[in-house]
Every structure is written in structure tokens, then in C-alpha cells.
């Protein structure tokens, strides 16, 4: 169950989301009382303070909020670190790599869709332009 070092620590509050990733399902917490989407995962709704919060599967279309292009070793493929706003969960954003696109073609606000990739024996989400494969 352990996550690789780069993934941070999976806790009681994030375990179900992590297990969802391993099954290629993106789960985002939502307040059952006021409807607020909550990510990163928390059990208490920041708007109405309800604890009637459950992880819901969402489809992964979204928009690029911002991104960076960290230096990679010579010859290695580019890595784009993105913040993606999820269309199906307004107000929720996640961090993920953006793949399947020349970094020069990236624009803030561009439409993206969810993909998955296996890394260090785990499955993690990523995003790519609509129609592009990751």
C-alpha cells in the first residue's frame, strides 16, 4: 500500500482516494449537505462544517490553471507539472503531470482530459489535451 517517496504520505484521510487511483478511478470528496467539492481530501466541509462528506467518482475533464517545466536530464522527455481545475467538480483542482503535448503548445485555460499511467509500481493520474494520447 505504501506510496513512493515522491507521492507524499497516504493517510487515513487519503487512503480511499489512493486506492481509487490504483483502480483508475478519480475520487473527489463532496459535501452531502451543501454540495461543495473538496480537494485535497478533507473530512469536514470548509463551507458548512458538515462531516457528511463522501468521495465521489468524477470524470476527469478539466482546464489547465497553471504549469511549470522543471529541468530534466539531457535527453529525457519534458515533465510538465500542472494544476488542473476539474469540470465535473467545480472548485476542486488537482496536481498532475500534463502529457502528450509539446510544452510550447500549452496555454493556461486549455481543455484537458484525464489519463492514467503506471509509475514505480503504482497508478497515478495525468492529463492530456482532448484527443491526444498520454
Amino acid at each position: 500500500m505504501g506510496a513512493p517517496a515522491t507521492m507524499g504520505t497516504v493517510t487515513y484521510d487519503t487512503r480511499v482516494h489512493w486506492e481509487g487511483w490504483q483502480a483508475r478511478r478519480l475520487l473527489i470528496n463532496r459535501c452531502g449537505d451543501c454540495g461543495t467539492w473538496i480537494h485535497f481530501p478533507r473530512r469536514l466541509c470548509p463551507d458548512c462544517w458538515s462531516e457528511n462528506v463522501t468521495p465521489e467518482p468524477v470524470d476527469g475533464s478539466g482546464r489547465l490553471v497553471s504549469w511549470s517545466l522543471p529541468r530534466t536530464p539531457p535527453g529525457a522527455p519534458p515533465v510538465v507539472t500542472g494544476v488542473v481545475a476539474l469540470d465535473a467538480a467545480p472548485g476542486a483542482r488537482i496536481l498532475a503531470q500534463v502529457t502528450g503535448v509539446d510544452p510550447d503548445e500549452l496555454t493556461i485555460g486549455m481543455a484537458l482530459e484525464l489519463g492514467w499511467r503506471d509509475e514505480h509500481g503504482h497508478t497515478v493520474p495525468e492529463f492530456h489535451p482532448i484527443g491526444a494520447s498520454s
Binding site: 515522491t6 507521492m7 507524499g8 504520505t9 497516504v10 493517510t11 484521510d13 487519503t14 482516494h17 489512493w18 487511483w21 480537494h39 485535497f40 481530501p41 478533507r42 470548509p46 490553471v65 497553471s66 504549469w67 511549470s68 517545466l69 522543471p70 529541468r71 515533465v79 507539472t81 494544476v83 483542482r93 488537482i94 496536481l95 498532475a96 503531470q97 510544452p103 493556461i108 497515478v124
Partner: protein
């Protein structure tokens, strides 16, 4: 709007700043604290408070360590804070104003641990004590959560929203380097041109090597007491006129790159609501510059509207002097900032430089015209504190 009692900074101390000090972090802190006590003229036995920054990458620096290291016999108050360092400064100020102690040492140090530098990683004497470096990663499910990547995304968002360019950010880096030429403590003192800046390697585009500070060993300390007691000490006191923070509802800058500008605006507005001075009454400005984009956001929050930074800087820029003078008058980061002094300072260098300028002990760097007021901003979205300092 003057509080009944105010706190004043009455002593300054530094350790050496270096990339290989050859000593442990506690030694650096002890040297800085000793120097600050000696500079203040307060007898060792009168020190009754110790307040310091206790952070995940400076894990041996509890206040009790400093009490032990300096053999302080009469300490009856202590406190500690997370970074940024101005949080510890205001904790010390509140302690003396509340009467919990009379003379407090306030310190900050950084060390090139294995987790903060590649050379440190390979040095057997720099392996940090065990702690959970990922303690706050309830983000949990994130990748590449490092601060560098966050700051680069903030910078890209600013460029996209407001049309700011690398040259705009370059002015901040060049200004700071120009001042650092006169600062013997600074890690980087070679004069820098715009060509140097634009030619620097990209580390995390759009952020280049010269947009970020560098790991360093070093420590600083100040002595804090009440403004009343400060009058009996050798140096001209520097009073903490006002302090403020601004935490936006969504202070998680990893997911909300816009949070830093919201935080800076809230902090700056609150700071100046607590004083009769206006931002343009400042004689010196010390925007936090761990990344150049943060200095841009702080300058906008203090002096103009969101996105107005590039125009503000263009107006303030002297190509001949390669430095900024806001409104033709206010110099910025007269010591060179974090970008030049290195990450050991993490904003505390701003405080010590401002105090030296306001009390007239900045030596070759002394700004002429008897500067009286300085604004210091420290930190970013979820972790910021700003102060307004005034010559007593």
C-alpha cells in the same frame, strides 16, 4: 495609532554565512545570539526570553538549546514559530509588550541539510535527525509538491494574466544583486546585468536560476525589548510600529497559485490599517524574495494594483545604477535580499538590514537622508507576516 506599549529591536547579530561552515547548526545559532546580545549592551544575566524559528529543516534549534549553549541563567519565557522568521520576531515583541519577559533573544538559522542541497545529501555530517519531511502532505495524492514548482506556476500565472515578462522579474534580481555588491555577508556579490539574467539556465520554466535563493549555512539573531527600556541602551531603538498577516481561505498555494497575491494584498492592507503611515511614507522597502515572483506580488500589494508591478518597476528602474527606487525615492532590499544573501536568511536578513539602516549602522550601505521607516514583508500564502519598523 500608537499602542500603549511597543516593542523595539536593540541588538543585531550574525554568524558567518557560508556554503560550508564546517560547524553544526547549533554553533551558528549560538554565535549569532552571542553577537546580538553583545551588540545590544544587555548583560547576559538580564536575558529572560528566547524565541526562535523551529522548522523542519533546522531541527536542532529549540530555544532550550540556545539557553544551554549560551549559559543563560535567568530565562523564564520561551516561544518558537514556524518560518518565516518575522513570525518569531512578532512573538518576541508580543512577549515583551505583555510583560512575559523583558529582554528576548530572537533567532533564525538555516543549514544545508541532506534534504535541502545535493552536496548536503552526500555529506555524512549533514544527515538530519529523523523527522517526517512529508508531514503536511495530506495533499497526499500529489506529485512534485516542491516549493520550486509551486513558485514557477505562480510566476507563469502572473505572466499569463498580466503580460509580465522575464525582464520584469529580472529587475528584481538585478536590483538585489546590485545592493549585494556592498554586503560582505552576501553569497552572491558579482554585479549582474539583464543579459546575465536572461541567459541564466532555466530550472523550472519560467523560473531561472537567478529567480530563486540558494541553500546556505547561517544564523541571525536580534534582541527585543520594550521601547521604554530600549531608550537606556546604546543603539538608537527601532520600534515595531505595526504587524499583520493575511491568510486567504484557500491558502494552499500548490493548488491555488492566485492565493499568494490574495494573501499579500490582505496582509499589506491590514498592516497599513494599523498605523497612520501610508506605504508611500516608507523610506525603505524589503519585499520577501525567496523567489522573485513573491517580491513582485508583495510590491504590488504594497504600492499598486494587481498586475501593476511591471509598470511600478519600470518607473522605478535606473539602467545606469541597475537598481530600483520606488517613486524615484524608496530603495528596495538594500542588502541584496534572500536572492543574494542566500536561504540562510529566509527573510530575517530583511529585518536585520532594515534595523541597521534605521539606526544608522549600515556602514558603506547606509542609505543617505536618515531613513526613518521601513516595511518588511515575509513569506507567502499560508505563511506570511509583515512588519513596519520605525526609528525610535
Amino acid at each position: 495609532m500608537t499602542a500603549v506599549r511597543q516593542a523595539a529591536i536593540v541588538g543585531l547579530g550574525y554568524s558567518e554565512f557560508s556554503r560550508d561552515s564546517g560547524v553544526g547548526p547549533g554553533t551558528l545559532i549560538a554565535r549569532a545570539a552571542k553577537a546580538a546580545v553583545l551588540d545590544s549592551g544587555v548583560p547576559k544575566q538580564d536575558i529572560d526570553g528566547v524565541v526562535g524559528v523551529y522548522s523542519t529543516d533546522s531541527p536542532t534549534l529549540w530555544p532550550a538549546y540556545v539557553v544551554d549553549a549560551l549559559g543563560l541563567p535567568n530565562v523564564t519565557w520561551w516561544d518558537s514559530s514556524s518560518p518565516p522568521s518575522v513570525v518569531a520576531l512578532t512573538a518576541a515583541a508580543q512577549a515583551v509588550v505583555a510583560g512575559n519577559c523583558e529582554y528576548a533573544i530572537c533567532y533564525h538559522g538555516k543549514y544545508r541539510w541532506a534534504t535541502t542541497s545535493v552536496a548536503g545529501r552526500d555529506d555524512p555530517f549533514r544527515q538530519p535527525p529523523a523527522y517526517d519531511f512529508d508531514a503536511d502532505l495530506t495533499h497526499g495524492l500529489v506529485e512534485h509538491a516542491g516549493s520550486m514548482l509551486w513558485a514557477a506556476r505562480v510566476m507563469r500565472q502572473h505572466m499569463d494574466r498580466f503580460g509580465s515578462t522575464r525582464e520584469d522579474f529580472g529587475r528584481i534580481a538585478i536590483n538585489n544583486r546590485t545592493h549585494a555588491v556592498g554586503n560582505p555577508r552576501a553569497l552572491f556579490r558579482t554585479p549582474m546585468t539583464m543579459d546575465d539574467y536572461l541567459g541564466a539556465p532555466m530550472i523550472d520554466a519560467p523560473m531561472c536560476l537567478l529567480d530563486m535563493d540558494a541553500p546556505l549555512d547561517g544564523a541571525m539573531a536580534v534582541i527585543v525589548t520594550t521601547a521604554e527600556r530600549a531608550r537606556d541602551l546604546p543603539h538608537r531603538p527601532v520600534v515595531i510600529e505595526a504587524s499583520a498577516s493575511g491568510l486567504p481561505c484557500r491558502s494552499d498555494g500548490l493548488l491555488w497559485p492566485e492565493a499568494d497575491a490574495i494573501a499579500a494584498r490582505r496582509a499589506a492592507t491590514t498592516l497599513f490599517s494599523r498605523t497612520d503611515y501610508r506605504p508611500t511614507d516608507m523610506d525603505l522597502a524589503y519585499p520577501y524574495d525567496g523567489f522573485s515572483v513573491l517580491a513582485m506580488l508583495w510590491l504590488e500589494a504594497l504600492f499598486t494594483e494587481d498586475g501593476g508591478g511591471p509598470a511600478l518597476l519600470a518607473d522605478a528602474w535606473s539602467e545606469t545604477d541597475r537598481q530600483l527606487r520606488l517613486f524615484g525615492r524608496i530603495p528596495v532590499c538594500t542588502h541584496g535580499g534572500n536572492l543574494s544573501e542566500g536561504r540562510a536568511t529566509q527573510g530575517f536578513g530583511h529585518v536585520l538590514e532594515a534595523v541597521a539602516q534605521l539606526r544608522g549602522t549600515a556602514g558603506d550601505r547606509q542609505v543617505p537622508g536618515d531613513p526613518r521607516r521601513a516595511v518588511i514583508t515575509n513569506g507567502m500564502a499560508g505563511t506570511n507576516r509583515s512588519v513596519l519598523l520605525a526609528a525610535g
